[in-house]
Amino acid sequence: MSTDPAWRRYTLFALLLLLGLMYLAAVNHFRRHSRNFLDTEAQRRAEIAQWPLAPRSLPQHWVFSAGREETRLLGAGWWPAEADGTNLIHSPGHVLLPLFLLPGDLRLELSLDAYRLPPGTAISARVDGQELARWPAGTERRIADASLVVPAARVRRAPIDLELQIVGALQPLPYDPFTRPQHKRLLVLRELRISAAAAQQ
């Protein structure tokens, strides 16, 4: 036992305990309130870009390859666009659809490639947190019939924030310095067609 007087030992112990509790409180606060700063930045950039890119009419055909204006509407989760599309680097990926005057229900048709998604995984499409479609990853590279209808009644705010999320367990992939980060090339968004759902029927 320490030879210090009891009051000194207990004071020091109380101080150390207090410091330890402060750590725990701080970590708890950080865990609850921290937001991925890179995602926040990407989302903010997309929100700034949406105004000049808002379409005046439908249908629209957007191509997400390097050099295209519409790639600026990609928010959190995406790697910068390349010649053949835009890679999802972490799930979910956000696409802003600046459709301020909705003509009614919308039909979205996506061109998605899933290169390395393992069997059992799927891609979920959500708007305002509600899942509107789910496409299982198959053996083919291209996700078949990746389309969904966004009911106007479901859209609570503009722009529409379309979330694409990989559902299911992903094994970590071997590190590859040429295609980092890890999940690059799991899912590639190439094109998006937007039309009024009524016009399709």
Binding site: R9, L16, Y175
Partner: protein, 387 residues
């Protein structure tokens, strides 16, 4: 009269310096090893640039600024920024801990430019670390000769250029050995402060906790954890050690809204990910090239660390084992060698084995010199294996 006094004082100093254990003599040996090793590295680097490089002249200081050095310079010059590299989305300087750039900025107040201030900081840290390692070796029972061999091994180890480069290895080494040395001497507050600085220097600085906890068990038995109020001073290093990390997290939260900005950027920008260690190591060994080289180096270092058990340095072993575990879960293999060489207890094992074996010592240092020369060439040319 004066001449006679001066003469006798001079002869006393010389007589003292002839004593092997005189502190001044030990200091001279350490400084000589430092200088000799740095001159060797500068010679290899300069010759490489002149004969194998692209022929573009660059200042000597630039030789010690490769890879992450530019990031630290950026933080030192203009602070943290959320801006990503143009050709590296998600790569931001939040990946780099603040203590080294803060210290270098302080040294820069002497009138040096940013790069020279950074290099002066790291070299001063390395020199101080060498002194501490020598004293630590003696403290844990190695002979004077072995303690100096440990210093020589650190100076000449392959990749020892990282200790003079604008990256955190020398600062990490200094703070680690300081925290451990003062804990063993029961200077709890100094040890705790060094531990706190350590966790503000590099993410794995936090692992000093493993040493501190293991040392507490070794010294006072497991009961110390059941009644910590009986010996609270021994817990000062344990409680202070995470302080630097918490302060950095607080800063990140204030500046970006993301306390874990460092983890965010290394995950998204550098592609850091974790997996089970045996799968990671199997993957590195299969990949070949630098990955295999780094993996083998870390495995050799892990085998050497088993010698700590033989020396009954259990707390040091706990530290090394924890850090090897951390290295081996990372899918990124690079820098594994330089992460290992800062684990100075490994050099104590080797130095103990080489004690009173001059031929083996010479052969080891010569081998290190050859490998170190090859890596210095790679470093000078910016080859990936030197990272």
């Amino acid at each position: 009269m004066n001449a006679a006094t001066t003469g006798s004082r001079g002869s006393r100093v010389l007589a003292a310096l002839r004593r092997e254990d005189h502190p001044a003599r030990i200091a001279l040996v350490i400084l000589a090893l430092y200088l000799l090793s740095r001159l060797g590295l500068i010679a290899v680097g300069s010759l490489t640039r002149q004969t194998l490089g692209d022929g573009v002249a660059e200042p000597l200081a630039n030789l010690f600024c490769r890879w992450d050095c530019d990031w630290y310079l950026q933080v030192q010059r203009s602070g943290y920024s959320t801006a990503s590299l143009e050709n590296g989305p998600g790569m931001t300087n939040y990946s780099f801990f603040p203590l080294l750039p803060l210290l270098a900025r302080g040294v820069g107040a002497l009138g040096l430019d940013a790069l020279h201030a950074l290099l002066l900081t790291t070299n001063l840290c390395f020199i101080a670390a060498l002194f501490y390692v020598q004293r630590y070796a003696v403290l844990v029972g190695l002979s004077l000769q072995a303690s100096l061999i440990a210093v020589a091994l650190l100076c000449f180890t392959p990749q020892s250029y990282v200790f003079s480069a604008g990256i955190t290895e020398s600062l990490f080494l200094l703070l680690l050995v300081m925290a451990m040395y003062h804990l063993r001497r029961r200077h709890y507050l100094v040890s705790g402060l060094a531990g706190a600085l350590l966790s503000a220097a590099r993410p794995n600085g936090f692992f000093f906790l493993l040493f501190a906890l293991a040392w507490l068990v070794q010294e006072f038995g497991p009961r110390v954890f059941l009644q910590p109020w009986r010996r609270p001073e021994a817990f000062v290093p344990v409680v202070l050690a995470p302080l630097g990390l918490l302060l950095f997290w607080s800063w990140c939260f204030y500046a970006t809204g993301d306390a874990f900005a460092q983890q965010t950027t290394i995950r998204q920008g550098w592609g850091w990910a974790a997996d089970l260690p045996w799968r990671v190591m199997a993957n590195h060994l299969q990949q070949g090239g630098p990955s295999r080289f780094w993996a083998i180096c870390s495995l050799v270092a892990a085998v050497v660390s088993l010698g700590l058990l033989r020396l009954r340095l259990y707390a040091e072993f706990a530290l090394c084992a924890g850090l090897f575990g951390l290295f081996w879960i990372s899918l990124i293999s690079n820098a594994m060698l330089r992460y290992c060489i800062v684990l100075f207890p490994l050099w104590l094992v080797l130095a103990h084995a080489l004690d009173r074996r001059p031929l083996a010592t010479a052969a080891t240092l010569a081998s290190f010199g050859l490998l170190g020369g090859w890596l210095m060439v790679a470093w000078t040319l910016g080859a990936y294996v030197s990272l």
